[in-house]
Amino acid sequence: MSLRAGVLTIALSILLTYRAFAQSSSPSPNEGAELAQLYNQGMAEFAAGDYAKAAADLEAMVNKAEFTPQLEPAFYTIGSAYFNAGNYTKAVAAFKTYQSKFPNGAHAAEVAFGMAQANLLGKNYADAASQFAALEKDPRLREQALFFGATASKEAGKIDNAISTLQKLVGGELGSAFSVRGAMMLAQLYSQKGESTKVISLIGKLHSRIALVDDIVGLNSTTVELGDDLFKKKSYADALECYRAAYPREEIIKMQTERIAAMQKKLDDNLNVARSDPSQFAALAAENNQLKIDIVRTQKALEEFAKLPSITPAIYIRLARCFYEVDKKWESALVYQELVDRFEKIPEREPALFGLLVSLAEINQAKKAEDRCEQYLREFKTGPNADTVGYMLGVVALQANDPRAAETYFGRMLETQGKSSYRDQMRYLLGNAKFMAGKWDEAVAEYKKYLSEFPNGQSVEDVNYRLALTKVFSGKYQDALNALNDYLKKYPHGQYVSDAKYRIAVCKYAASLYDEVIKDCKDWEREFTGNKQLGEVLALLADSYAATDRDTEAVDLYVRSYKTAATDEVMNYSLFAASKILQKRGEWDKVAALFNDFIAEKPESPSVISALYWIGKAKAHDGKIDEANKICADTIKKYIDDPKREAVELLLTQTAQLCVKKKKPVEGDERSTTTPEVDPGAELDQLLGNTEQDQSPTSKARVLFAKAELARLRKQPAEEEKNIAKLAEFKPDDLSPMLLGRAGDYLLGQKKFDQAAKFYQQLLDDYPKSDNLDFAYNGLGEIALQKNDLRSALRYFNDGTEKIAAQQKLKELTLGKAKVLLATERLDEAKKVFEQVASVREWRGEATAFSVYSLGEIEAKRQHWAEANAYFQRVYVGYQKFLPWVAKSYIRSGECFEKLNKQQEAANTYRELLRNEKLAGFAEAAEARKKLEALGQQG
């Protein structure tokens, strides 16, 4: 604080003092004039800013003059002059003199404050602190006294004292500029002491009273620094709050400009008031001086700040790092993304892009992570993280279960990043990628390269084991046995010993060495007690017993296996393997007991509904139809609302089957012969009746399905179609996977492609692991084919046959693929697939007729007329049941003959078509007549 304010008040008293000197009886007129001159000189020097001279002259004057109360301003000015000259020691002495001479002087308060300030600036912190403490009682000076007192304590290293002083200043609402400055200091002190909650609270308070903050640039900077401090101390959530409180550049400039304008306005208003009321001049002049200083300071800070680039990237990168550390990876990715996409040329771009791809990988956004990895390698080929990114590119692809892409990436990185520190890992993972893709020979080659390049690499044991495994998976069991035994010799305590011994048993099983397998599995269980692979080993053991017709032992082992299985896959395998044996032996009561035990053991398992289905089936087998029906109906009612429970449809079908099944009369029950047969439809309604009244659309849809199944079993196709058609009126959201597939198929059959697509898409999106997923791939493929979007069609058909284990629609998917290949003139591939379809015995029927016909079309496209004709003839000779294809084949066969210049044979073929009464209504019959006419013959 400047004490220049003293200048103006003293100026008014110059005349008074002169008069005093003039009136004093002690000095001679000459001495009086000299003293007055000294006084005036001193005051003028003070006004001119020559404080040292002013102090010297005024001191000389007071030393010469006889003491009078009128000299009060002079004594005050001496202290002020020394203060302004930066001579704090003398300022303190001068102020003490004043206090001793004028204990109740007009400037007593200013002198006390000035002395405290001088002690503070002169680093006499203890004196300063105690003097400021005394000034706290003065309401005019309280806030300043608290602020500067705290400053003194802080500078003296007495942080707790500083804190308690500042708490008095900022404890309530922040109502002034000093309280705001005090709050900023207190926040810094709290941060030093690690009291982050208090820091955050103060930051919040400051921002809520932003209107009082003159130095917004400074506040913003302090806020960010506090955030950085908290980040270093790992208080990430608190650091986040600080960063969030920071203002963007545009807002800072706007607010600071407004603040400066407000200060300027205050200054102008003060001048206006002072002009109209001179008595306030002195006080307002003091305030104005301070305002001028503050305006200059904040203007300068603003100008410097405005030259800087946007601080948003700096804040955003901090935000992103905080979000990452508090496990909000999506939020982290979002901020990094915003940074990368909005700001092209910033220093933070490289770390932001790297942070983005790491976050994306962590949140399993594999495709986006890959794209950003590629972007990084384009923009920062030699960047500090280029090696890591190159490695991550492949890792992310593996994570996304895309071994082909992983292969490509790792291969590329190994070529382009020769000195990467991840070379070892990449070579190993490249082998793994090929392993995952089932490319055994290539995987072996990569693993051998690894061993040659990195004989002491970190993955040597893994590689050696995987080399053995490739032999197991490629069916080279003898080689596998040798390799596995080699592994065990080399790594007797290796991490894969238990798995290796299990695989050895698998190899022996493949060689039908069942007794050895049994011994090995028993040894394994003894050696590896509690190992999580026990379920698999027990399943293998059970398989061996079953293979040697020791069914009782096999069943017991299967039961042990499912109970200890670590995966659902093994659990289900063993459970249903046990069931199959019991079914084969006709021990249906044991089948029921098996599944009842399973339900008791694993009540939350998704296989529970299937288990109930089998219990019902077992009861039905034993003639306990009503009991079976009750089990089915009760289970259905429990799960009918949940579209995710796919096995409900199985139960609905079973219920329909049980309703259709005639009930055996009970022996000895005379009534049974006279009891009228219950209508299956009525019985189904009764069993599901309450369920239908349920408001849930899912339940209603499932009841319709049950009715459709009943109609199918009763060979009532019209009734079946009627109920399925009603399914198609439901919203896809309400249907289970099977019903989505059925509704989609119905709409597809009606050529309502867009509606059908919605059902299939829902199935694809919501049930990616459903057993009915093949309906979706097939349906969408067919729709794409109908719309001539051959690329999409092929993608769907390929995915349906390669990515999933299609069961119900495998034939259609394969045929669909063949159709697309034919349509796109990929004749060799199309031929292969049509031949495949035609060769599958289980698919014999129209699919075969169509396939053979298509094979003819392929040959015809190649103008191999004889070969084509052979296929067409096969169709109309061997597949007479499938009239549309028969009719077409006749025509095409005739055309082939014509191409071979065998007109008579062609005519005979056309006539043969016309002789077939079943083909009379087909368009091909009219076509045959035209062809005959063109040949100059009659039909």
């Binding site: 999506w330 939020e331 990715a333 979002l334 993304q337 999106d765 919501d766």
Partner: protein, 275 residues
Amino acid sequence: MGSQRLPLQFCVVVLLLLGKIDMFGQSVLLKTGQKVESQGLRRDGDLIMAKVQVGTGSGEVGYHVAQIAKIEFPEPAAMKTANDSLGRGDAEKALGEINSVLGYYDQFKDVPGSWWAQAALVKVSALAAMQRQPEAEVIAKEIQKSVTDPEIARAAQLRLVGALIRRNDFDKAVAICDDAIKNSKDETTLANAWTAKGDALLAQKNADDALMAYLHVPVFYYEEKQFMPTALLGSARAYRRLDDVDHAKKTLNELIASFPQSAEAAAAQTELKKL
């Protein structure tokens, strides 16, 4: 009386106070540059009747709406209280508070400086929060027809996105959101746009992009409390679709704790039970 009775230059003192004057302290700025301090205003057909001091008494002066550049209405206190109520999730209270504002400003809907559009937007938000979509849409359309400020027009358009989503018109819904995101500088509008975009993407089962859209609100626009419940609920649903049950639960619990009165909190309670 008023300008239809006397030419404009004579529209100084016309008659003694008649009719109800509801508010006071507004300045009427005419297109001529003249500023008229009024003690109250009322609407009379195409005229705005201003109560003015005339000597020791008062009179009314009428100005045609076309002559008025702007009326400087003070911001109604209920605007802030209604927005605060919305921010707390108390839509019903917000509706009651804003209806009183609309009750007055309805008569000045077409007058520049009127708070009608802003108040109507608050009402639309309140009705939407109370699941009274059809009423919200009617008002949103009215706002679009009545305003020239592009920010308010955008805000009103965004209120219609919900209806477009229900009609499966996702492309149009997303286009409106993207336009607002690209062109708006108003944080409330931006928070609204991102939330609406999240809704549109989630309806199309695009959970990844929907989640990123929703998260814009808690990450960049966390001061826009009225959109936080929707953004949090949407995020939780997106997490669920992505099989991230842990984050779904955390988000739902955060919603219930932070906005217990909101309709979204009630939905969150139900959804938590399913997880």
